[in-house]
Symmetry: D2
Subunit: 357 residues, 4 copies
């Protein structure tokens, strides 16, 4: 552990150590003192402002793993983050101290076949915040390669800037589906990702967006954001939308996948965004007879700039999705709240302590 101050332009006034919320084992998060990291030549040091709690954070907290990703050493969670650049490495040109930024959490290798093909989200050597063994952003300071440090306009709040990350998931899903003006879009699952997907579909000009869920609370939010809604406990989605051009599946539920696919019109697109069972039964007969295109999304690529532009234009509501805020010392409470409160949408951790916004 170093005791020197972080260096780089702008670093002279920074502390040597910081606080971070560290996952040691399932159900065991501790606030610890850690050194403030040094930015490399092309990295920025960012003072973290706001971090959204994602389902994957909660899953690591509860189970210590997601599929093949296992927490084997203490891990800082958090990857939906914004902050302010406080120092930069010697070769950085894209940002400078004082810039408010949204942080794209995955830095790919840039050399592999996937990176060369432009699909950097599929890079097998990506270093992604809060995916073992890479620490995340439940911390006061983090470093990030400048190319993934995206300045945001002042019209975006710190929390909206943090939520550019899940918005990028929605931008990517809509891009895969090629949602167009005039289309009908079915969004199954009205959690945060579903609520963002439906907003992006509308921002691309979709004529009709139908959201489904089992929670009346979430469906009410979906209606406020411009969708028609179906509570699948009460009605079949196909009774409302039998010929969707696109299904954006955000629940991960095997039943929602099967039900949703049967609502899609011939030659329509199905994008599986939500994660659930690894091998659910799929209506292959319907996929064949209607020549549907089915794909899944893994994070996103080249999506942050579009997400920031959409959010800055006022087309997308982000701040309205925030339902609770916690300080860094209460990160564990934030993880628990995200799961236990049925009306929770986006729970925010504020390493900068501004929990009263």
């Amino acid at each position: 552990m170093t005791d020197v101050r972080p260096s780089g332009r702008g670093a002279h006034t920074l502390p040597r150590t910081q606080q971070a919320a560290v996952l040691h084992a399932p159900g065991d998060v501790r606030l610890e003192e850690r050194p403030v990291p040094e930015p490399g030549p092309r990295e920025a040091l960012v003072r973290v402002a706001a971090v959204g709690v994602c389902g994957s954070d909660v899953h690591y907290y509860e189970h210590g793993r997601i599929a093949d990703f296992v927490v084997e050493a203490p891990l800082v969670l958090g990857h939906e983050s914004s902050g302010v650049v406080v120092a930069v490495g010697s070769e950085v040109t894209r940002v400078r101290p004082g810039d408010r930024v949204a942080m794209e959490p995955g830095v790919p290798c840039g050399q592999c076949a996937q990176c060369r093909a432009g699909r950097y989200n599929l890079c097998p050597d990506v270093r992604f915040f809060a995916t073992p063994p890479i620490d995340g952003t439940f911390a006061e300071y983090v470093v990030l390669h400048e190319a993934f440090t995206h300045p945001v306009p002042d019209t975006l709040s710190d929390e909206a800037a943090a939520l550019i990350e899940p918005l990028s998931v929605a931008v990517w899903a809509n891009r895969k589906a090629r949602v167009e003006p005039g289309m009908s879009v079915l969004v199954s699952g009205a959690g945060p990702i579903g609520l963002l997907c439906l907003q992006v579909a509308r921002a691309r000009g979709a004529a009709r967006v139908v959201a489904t869920d089992v929670s009346e609370h979430r469906l009410a939010v979906a209606r406020r954001l411009g969708a028609e809604t179906v509570n699948v406990r009460e009605r079949e989605p196909s009774s409302v939308i039998a010929d969707a051009d696109v299904l954006l599946e955000c629940s991960g539920s095997a039943e929602a996948i099967a039900t949703g696919i049967r609502c899609v019109a011939p030659a329509g697109a199905v994008v599986l965004v939500g994660m659930g069972e690894p091998t659910p039964p799929l209506p292959v007969g319907a996929i064949q007879q209607n020549e549907l295109w089915v794909t899944g999304t893994f994070r996103y690529a080249h999506a942050y700039p579009a997400a920031i532009a959409l959010a800055a234009s006022g087309t997308i509501e982000l701040d309205g999705l925030v339902t609770a805020r916690y300080g860094l010392a209460d990160a564990e409470a934030a993880l628990l709240a995200s799961r236990r409160d049925p009306t929770a949408l986006k729970v925010i951790v504020r390493p900068d302590g501004r929990t009263m916004e």
Copy 2:
């Protein structure tokens, strides 16, 4: 000339004859009495409400031809039209008397290679209103195949419903260009088509739209509709937008094409919408070095439903583009006004006489 009443469901109260504005020679438009046509089995008879004057109408009026299309017999002009269905043929199921409709002006053969491939706008045997020898809609009544008779919601005015036609041109151009959220779009030429193209680009989520023209009046409208503007008499477009993802060229000017192409980023798209010189010089070197994709549009296909949905959602301003209205008896004045008034955007002919709206 038949003297029987038009038949079909709903036809019992219709007159046998109607008025139409007929082009006999360049500069010679006459109001004439003509029979009200009979709808065929799959046709609707529509009482025409509003017709937008298009540049092609003016060109036929002035020159008697456009390229290989020559006016050799008296021709009714007008093809941007809306109205009310007043009678339908025996097999019609899509509309019924009383429906307010936007009329898609081209009915393709449905049998040729282009039709079978889904590109009905390229059908060599299309019958298109006001393209010789097919009469247009400067008339009280017209018949149209039901498949091209699109019902509109009551939130759309008659004039907005007529302008679904040029809006479809803009929908098609944007679809060809695959305008996406986050993109920068340059629209050269801020006449009616350019003003619609920029609105559709915004409705698809474009982050930045820059419109160019030589008319301050038109640029002011473009600014009101959300675009940045460049008066090309004063500045180079490249000084404002040097890396457009898309150029939608709506002026037809050879200079605008060449200037615009040089503003497009590598791998960008160029859609040539405006018609001008048939073989202008093109910066092929730039197209090669930047691997641009260049295409042109010929009318549109499958665009009316999306255009109606966009207009109905309130995303697109149509009524605000109307700058003058004339009755059918003044169709010639409308054609002249469209050309002579430098502040004219959309001039409307109202065969239903409602010129005071």
Copy 3:
């Protein structure tokens, strides 16, 4: 039942009645006398030369239905067919008596949304040979719309011309997958469709084609046609091809689908051609993590001309797939042989009686 001779140009020498093999119930095929049909204005009357037996014919013969298609009245089977035009309707221009033709078996309505979009294979009102209630081509004479009657060069045998139908399935599957030079393609299932798919993949320049099956006999044919092979009883396909760009699944086996998908490289394409269980378990996790594109094929559209060109160029071996021939009177034996002989690939029925070719 008419007793007049068929009319149309060329019809003067034709008989009034013909023989047809008619399915009355599962396991009950009868040779019957039926009238020779009249060609409509845009139809050709074709004397059938050769008909390939398809798995769907066998399925109707055994079960009397396929999914929702139920044989409720006597049905003539057979839809992979060639023949000679012997008479044409009054408006026919594309073929004339004496032309040797491959017969595309499905005639779409030309009016619906799918037809207008260019996807005529998804037309809900298509009339398809040997799909209830439309009779097929196990008959001496059939009529067919001229647009689906494709002339073939003399270098193609009658049987090769019949097999343009399954070759079109393979052309369509490869087109969906966008197989390109340099790609690696996995073909699971080396029956007739798989053997054609692998040949088309090679004709598109695929660098490597690997075929899998459980039958050594079929795998030997696949090797002769240029594929590497894997007997899935002995080895995992992934031990031979772990990063296929494309999977063309031709077996319909749920296990083959799941195994095959795991062999596909990130961003690869999966085309489900073979029909099997309607809702097998699918490795959605792999589809998501690798952002695979999965689709299915339903017949084909716009594929016959390409299939004929490929076959005529000598790139594709068709005649070599024929393993047995039967006369029309032995159609039932042909259906049985296709199922019972483990070395059978393509069994042919020859309504023209030329079973010694």
Copy 4:
């Protein structure tokens, strides 16, 4: 200038200096002694076997520049090259000493927007052999990043391996055009690039390929390679092919571009490969009326593996295009021959001295 031996695995037996043919001014090429370069950590040192003379080499030799690329310091020409790896840097894993390789001549930065998007051929910071100020391969030894050093099978000769470079141009042009089985392709210009483009079109299954030129000698080669031909001094191409699906324009002639575009069917693709006038007149009217897609190519990306696979499969004839060979000392004679001999197709420089192959 260093006097130490090159290091890296395999370097112990290498000389310290080598010969290179250096362009000092238009018309002034000198054989000079230069140090054998050191491979960097991820570079291979390659002993050059064969180098094809490209039109761009000749253009630099004659004019000292191409567009904005100006030869301001002595420059080694040559970029179509093959050789044998003789030493590798410490981190190289893809090749090892003894490997025969085709050398992809452009190494992109890997960091810019174009590289991240997968379009590395558009990287503004690419370092490309024989493009000022980067030296090329008219030399005994060169270093190259391992990722662009592609092993070739022994079935490919050294000269064929060198010609993988122009073959990659053809692979890329055909990929842009999406040439498919059954398509008709017009190739204008039957020089080396045109002859390779037509072969790749056939390898993708094109049903019909028509090549045009003014040289009977070149057209005879085109016919041998499977194309129909048109001598444009004698006939209009449109008299032979009026509805091409694709135009691959390889001549750079303004007249050929205009003539060729008029032969393309509606919705067809035009790929401008040949370089000529920077702003020739283009038939924009035809592009619009037929909604053609026009693009240009700049080198290629991700094309070497496909080109090597096609060549290795025997589908493409490369050796047969070689019309003359020169030693390194005669590089200037090779440049002159390439221009002056009307029957020259590919002239090869052999730095390894094997001019008798």
